[in-house]
């Protein structure tokens, strides 16, 4: 803490011949502190505004029909987003199936085999991949899957989201594995355990909770993504259980309804947004609890 005691400043000014803290400097100090507090308030304001308004508009619009029915045509009241909720889950499941093993594998490579130049390249590339705009990933998934299959599909959406998950999972897995003390690995080697068993059953298992946190971080990030789904999953007004057909997604449905001119659809967009956030937070919380208490608990 700065010493602003005027007495000590006066004494030192007499003895050492330096000027005491001037009025101007003290005011500047207080003004800058005030500005800094003000910025915090200004940043928190939209956060609370968004959450409050979301809950306020969303709660009033969620009902049983919203959660169990498919969208109704324009003009008819009622209808819901049940197919979009299920569609989002299907797309996210595909994305996780593809992205999580590959991401964790890349993380293991970085931490256990990649403490060299090749590792540095992969590390840099995954950081760069992390910054690629999601809409560009959508174009790539369109070229990879949609062009080959000749139609939009849940699979294409899943591939796009998986590509977005991999770099995040790889980097957090790496950091979590690096936190595991070297002595634990050496203890396993000393018992004659082979390297791959050590990595999977000792190192990875010790870091389980951290790795899962990273996976959930990646999951939460892609769960609300809309841009890469626009021309991969495409959206659907009806139920669809085939992974090679256009599939509805919650975020897509929110977008379509938000830019429409109908009040009824606006209402449903808010309900959809609230459901989306509840689903994301719920999934993350459920996995966190499972990690802490359940069978997934690390060593």
């Amino acid at each position: 803490m700065p010493d602003t005691n005027p007495n000590s400043a006066a004494v030192s000014a007499q003895q050492v011949n330096i000027s005491p803290i001037s009025w101007r400097r003290r005011v500047t100090d207080h003004v800058m502190t005030g500005i800094s507090v003000l910025t915090v308030l200004l940043v928190l304001l939209p956060l609370f505004a968004i959450f409050a308004y979301l809950v306020y508009r969303g709660i009033g619009s969620i009902n049983i029909a919203f959660l169990t029915q498919t969208p109704k045509p324009v003009g008819e009241p009622g209808g819901g987003m049940a197919n979009a909720i299920v569609g989002s889950m299907v797309i996210l499941a595909i994305a996780s199936l593809l992205g999580v093993p590959l991401g964790i594998g890349a993380g293991i490579f970085l931490s256990e085999y990649g403490r060299n130049r090749y590792g540095d390249i992969v590390r840099f590339v995954s950081d760069v991949l992390n910054g690629v705009p999601s809409i560009v990933i959508g174009i790539v998934a369109y070229g990879l899957v949609v062009m080959r299959q000749k139609h939009f599909s849940a699979l294409a959406g899943g591939v796009a989201l998986a590509i977005m998950m991999i770099p995040t999972i790889a980097r957090t897995t790496e950091q979590m594995l690096l936190l595991v003390p070297q002595a634990i690995r050496e203890a396993a080697y000393g018992l004659g355990v082979s390297r791959w068993r050590t990595t999977l059953s000792i190192t990875l298992r010790t870091a389980t909770s951290g790795v899962i946190t990273g996976v959930m971080l990646a999951f939460a990030r892609v769960a609300g993504e809309t841009a890469p789904l626009l021309f991969t999953a495409f959206g659907n007004q009806y139920w669809n259980w085939k992974t090679d057909q256009p599939t509805a997604a919650l975020s897509l449905q929110i977008f379509t309804y938000a830019i429409s001119p109908f009040d009824e659809w606006h209402r449903q967009a808010w309900a959809g947004a609230l459901v989306l956030i509840i689903l994301i937070v719920g999934a993350v919380a459920a996995v966190r609890i499972a990690v802490r208490h359940g069978t997934l608990a690390g060593a």
Binding site: P2, Y53, F124, V128, S134, I135, G192, W196, A227, F255
Partner: protein
């Protein structure tokens, strides 16, 4: 004296019955974990499988580049470099120029930075230098919560809450006070470049402030103490001892925020107005590279049209790659090789 003269130690414990639980325990403890020769095959196979996963990350980047380059070939042959200099975007006559979109992306992102940078640095400074320890965790958690809201929800909120506020209060005020600059003139629609800039700013503040915070934390404590010992006030200590030392890292954080703003799609598409025009006024509607992709990609009927859109995607990709690489290097230079935390 020889060892043999010593009495042999005596164990009084009885031998466990063979086959009993205790005997099994002793057996388990004394048997080597792995008997016989250890095969090296699984070890080598596992090592290469993991290397393959690492390689896959690099291959992914290669795949992205390949897809974009091949997809945009047609448009590249038709327009060449002129593609980025023409402002004509007409699917009917098959004329494509990306200039209005580049302009929209650059202006909306810069506007977002102008708003977000002072706020984010203020928040980071408050959290690291001023705030009581108990509040610190809550505040960083809350600012990071902002980053967890999906882009489409920001857009939704922007359409129904932010845009009306801009239209009713902010834009008339700006037109009255700063209208003479020409930046704030024309009818206040609410929707337009200004709305895009403001919502982008709200979205990139968490990124810039959380990385700035990390950079400020690694400034050595003795730097602060040295400046205070010279009689500085707290603000002077922050300015001279902290911010000056963390300069490169803060610039890196700002550039990372810029990278995010350049590629942001949904929220911007919902409020920018989507008109491919270059207007001086920030009240006028615009269009960005990302939003033209979002709006027109599925509707692109002709091959050249699709190719032109993919070329916009390629340009966006390269710009964000360069911006991100630059930012990473700057943040790394401050945090001394410790990787910057992934920004989700």
């Amino acid at each position: 004296m020889s060892n043999q003269a010593l009495p042999r130690p005596r164990f009084n414990a009885p031998e466990p019955e063979p086959g009993s639980k205790a005997a099994l325990k002793i057996e388990a403890r004394t048997t080597p974990l792995l008997q016989g020769k250890v095969s090296e095959v699984p070890d080598v196979a596992f090592g290469w499988a993991m290397r393959l996963c690492g390689l896959a990350v690099v291959a992914l980047l290669g795949l992205i580049v390949y897809q974009l380059v091949v997809g945009s070939e047609l448009s590249w042959h038709a327009f060449g470099w002129k593609f980025f200099g023409q402002s004509d975007w007409n699917p009917v006559s098959d004329q494509y120029g990306a200039l209005p979109f580049i302009y929209g992306t650059v202006v909306s992102s810069l506007l977002a930075l102008v708003i977000a940078v002072p706020l984010s640095i203020g928040v980071a400074v408050f959290i690291t230098e001023m705030c009581p320890i108990g509040l610190r965790g809550i505040l960083s958690f809350t600012t990071e919560l902002l980053a967890a809201i999906p882009s489409v929800v920001y857009g939704l909120w922007a359409i129904f809450v932010m845009v009306p506020i801009l239209r009713e209060y902010v834009q008339p005020f700006l037109a009255r006070t700063l209208g003479w600059t020409g930046l704030f003139s024309g009818p206040p629609y609410g929707i337009g470049m200004l709305a895009a800039g403001v919502i982008l700013a709200i979205m990139i503040i968490p990124i810039i402030s959380s990385i700035t915070r990390e950079v400020l934390i690694v400034v050595p404590q003795h730097q602060r103490e040295a400046v205070l010992a010279l009689g500085a006030t707290r603000w002077e200590m922050i300015r001279m001892g902290v911010l000056r030392n963390a300069r490169a890292g803060i610039v890196g954080a700002i550039i990372l925020g810029l990278g995010r703003a350049l590629g942001e799609t949904m929220a911007v598409t919902m409020v920018i107005g989507n008109r491919p025009e270059i207007a001086k006024s920030l009240f006028a509607p615009g269009y960005t590279m990302a939003s033209v992709l979002a709006n027109e990609f599925t509707e692109a009927t002709g091959d050249l049209y699709l190719s032109a859109l993919i070329e916009i995607g390629l340009a966006l990709f390269f710009v964000t790659i360069v911006v991100n690489a630059l930012a990473r290097l700057m943040v790394w230079s401050v945090t001394r090789g410790q990787p910057a935390r992934s920004i989700a």
